[in-house]
């Protein structure tokens, strides 16, 4: 009990007395160099247009949209860990939820940038919004592309607010804990004058729990909606009712993989062994294994429906097995599901290095899956004339690496300057015993 209290106190002191400045600077330097790649790639894109990328008719989407789906899927795990486990009274989530939610924010930021960059005329992105305009027209509300705009915007706003009201009490505690004036000012402004009044806590809990309750169906709706970008199009390999649950499961799977990696990394770098115990690694292993097997079931269901449909659908399925993009299909299967099987054993779940490597493998595997679903369906459809290969260019990879840099930069700033673990919830739990 008192060990947890001491550890929670340490979390509040992390920003003013950061224990691993050297490791942080090394990571931050790496992140900043990738961020530079992002700015160069985007500047080049703005100067020359999307022609610098490999996507063209018929594969009009290519990297931007498959990476968009990948990033957004990663984001969902933070909300699920935080909101779903809160409602189910799983207190072990308190050690993970704060940075998992931060991961959500930054992953959704990276995701949200991609469709805008993909527009061709990105400065006109606000045309997606319904507003009174001199052209006298409105968005096409029957299109999944418009649904997408509302879904991602809502998700970004809701997850930001959920994260922020969750961090306010810790900012207030860090404000009171800080000795230097600049830290007091910094935390004090962020805490918005929080003073722990009992009636405030009661209303805060109402708002927090209700937001959590509505955030879970929101996650499901957002990623179902993303899948409809694909499933609502008459393209073999896409038009399937299995897509919404299949996408949601894959999203949770890829997100838990990234949460596992971040957990192992932060636990090691900041010596959080008291708060993030072997039990947490074990639980993450379970989550990864469970969502992974559900995703595997999705693969089987998708394969079955395509084979059952026959015709062009089955042709696309067999083309995925042995066509020019077979590497992405078998790569997805291998990276997603083979190392995953180690997690059936407690020993491997609790060994940080295996958990990290399996998380990395799943992250790569899920990226291949998004790529495979998109490219192998688009590059040849009903007409022989609409056949054309997709090859990513240097700038495709540049923007992709750049978004990873953006994510890492934001995440490292969060790690350096804010309480990365929900200290007040850990203390509440420790005192309640």
């Amino acid at each position: 009990m008192s060990r947890d209290l001491a550890a929670a106190d340490r979390v509040l002191r992390l920003p003013p007395r950061f224990p691993a400045p050297r490791a942080w600077w090394i990571c931050f330097g790496f992140a900043l160099s990738l961020l530079a790649v992002f700015f160069v790639s985007v500047a080049w894109l703005f100067g020359h247009g999307p022609g610098i990328w490999g996507n063209n008719i018929p594969v009009g989407w290519g990297f931007p949209i498959s990476n968009y789906v990948w990033w957004l899927g990663i984001g969902h795990a933070g909300t699920l860990i935080s909101a779903m486990l809160l409602l189910m009274g799983q207190d072990w989530r308190n050690s993970l939820n704060r940075f998992a939610e931060a991961m959500t924010l930054f992953a959704v930021t990276c995701a949200g940038l991609y469709p805008v960059l993909h527009l061709g005329r990105p400065w006109l992105f606000y045309w997606m919004a319904p507003y009174f305009n001199t052209m006298d027209i409105w968005p096409q509300f029957k299109s999944p592309l418009t649904w997408d705009f509302f879904a991602v915007l809502t998700y970004l706003i809701v997850s930001t607010l959920f994260w922020y009201i969750g961090i306010i009490p810790d900012l207030a505690a860090a404000r009171d804990r800080a000795r230097k004036r600049r830290w007091k000012m910094f935390f004090g402004l962020g805490a918005l004058g929080w003073r722990g009044q009992a009636t405030h806590w009661a209303r805060w809990q109402q708002a927090y729990r209700l937001t959590a309750a509505i955030a879970v169906p929101l996650v499901v709706s957002v990623h179902s909606e993303i899948s409809l970008l694909f499933a609502a199009g008459p393209v073999p390999g896409w038009v399937s009712t299995v897509f919404p649950p299949y996408f949601v499961m894959g999203a949770a799977f890829s997100g838990f993989a990234v949460v596992s990696m971040l957990t192992v990394w932060l636990r090691w770098m900041l010596d959080l062994h008291t708060l993030v115990t072997l039990r947490h690694l074990n639980m993450l292993g379970y989550l990864l294994l469970a969502t992974g097997m559900m995703t595997a079931y999705g693969y089987a269901a998708e394969m079955f429906t395509a084979a059952y449909a026959g015709g062009k659908e089955a042709e696309t399925l067999f083309d995925r097995f042995s066509g020019p993009y077979a590497w992405s299909y078998w790569g997805a299967i291998a990276f997603n599901f083979l190392p995953l099987q180690l997690l059936w054993w407690r020993r491997w779940r609790q060994w940080p290095i295996t958990l990290f490597l399996i998380g990395l493998s799943v992250t790569i595997g899920m990226w291949m899956e998004r790529y495979m679903l998109l490219v192998s369906s688009l590059y040849r459809d009903w007409l022989e004339s609409s056949t054309g290969y997709f090859h990513p260019t240097f700038w495709d990879w540049g923007v992709f690496a750049g978004t990873i840099g953006l994510f890492l930069t934001l995440f490292l700033l969060f790690v350096r300057f804010l309480p990365i673990i929900s200290a007040f919830e850990v203390r509440e739990e420790a005192v309640d015993g």
Binding site: F150, A173, A174, G193, A202, W204
Partner: protein, 181 residues
């Protein structure tokens, strides 16, 4: 200095949440009207002890959700009448196709209303509060749970002080408003 301001509240500090909840019950039973507490984290049972029955946050959320959902749906209906788009053989008012955005805006309206109501009813954000002047007030401490009798018009310092002292707190602290300059 301290005497310059009007009293804001009288605090009694306890070292465990259990003692705080007990004390809150006792003080409420003696008929003090404006009783509140200051704790570093939410304390179980304190809401009941303080007889907290404010349902404005859930009510705001319900209203926000209804307004968001209905508004989202009607927006799509209205814009389709204003600029008809006959697409994919769907009817002009394609209810299933409108459900996605109606749902998202329902969620958005509900969450904005709930969190907005929480801030407004709690009178946050604010830059300063008299409680921050209280001796040793520190939300990062694990052994400071304050019971507060808030000063209203017929606040009697001695009566409140006696009632709190009877509960044997670790300390009794006067909190005053800062004088307006």
């Amino acid at each position: 200095m301290v005497e310059a301001g009007r009293p804001f509240a009288l605090l009694a500090a306890f070292d465990t949440p259990e003692r705080l909840v007990e004390a809150a019950r006792a003080i409420r039973a003696q008929g003090f009207g404006k009783v509140d507490a200051f704790t570093p984290f939410p304390v179980k049972g304190l809401e009941q002890a303080l007889d907290f029955h404010d349902r404005r946050v859930p009510a705001a959320m319900l209203i926000g959700g209804i307004v968001g959902g209905a508004g989202g749906f009607l927006m799509q209906v209205a814009t389709n009448f204003d600029y008809p788009l006959w697409i994919g053989g769907r009817p002009l008012i394609a209810v299933p196709a409108f459900m996605m955005i109606s749902f998202e805006l329902m969620v958005l309206g509900a969450v904005l209303a709930a969190i907005g109501a929480m801030f407004i009813v709690n009178r946050l954000p604010r830059l300063h509060h008299p409680i921050f002047d209280a001796d040793g007030f520190d939300l990062s401490a694990d052994d400071r749970f304050y019971l507060a009798i808030l000063a209203d018009l017929d606040f009697d310092r001695d009566e409140a002080g006696k009632a709190l002292a009877a509960l044997k707190p670790d300390a009794i602290i006067d909190v005053t408003q800062r004088p307006r300059s």
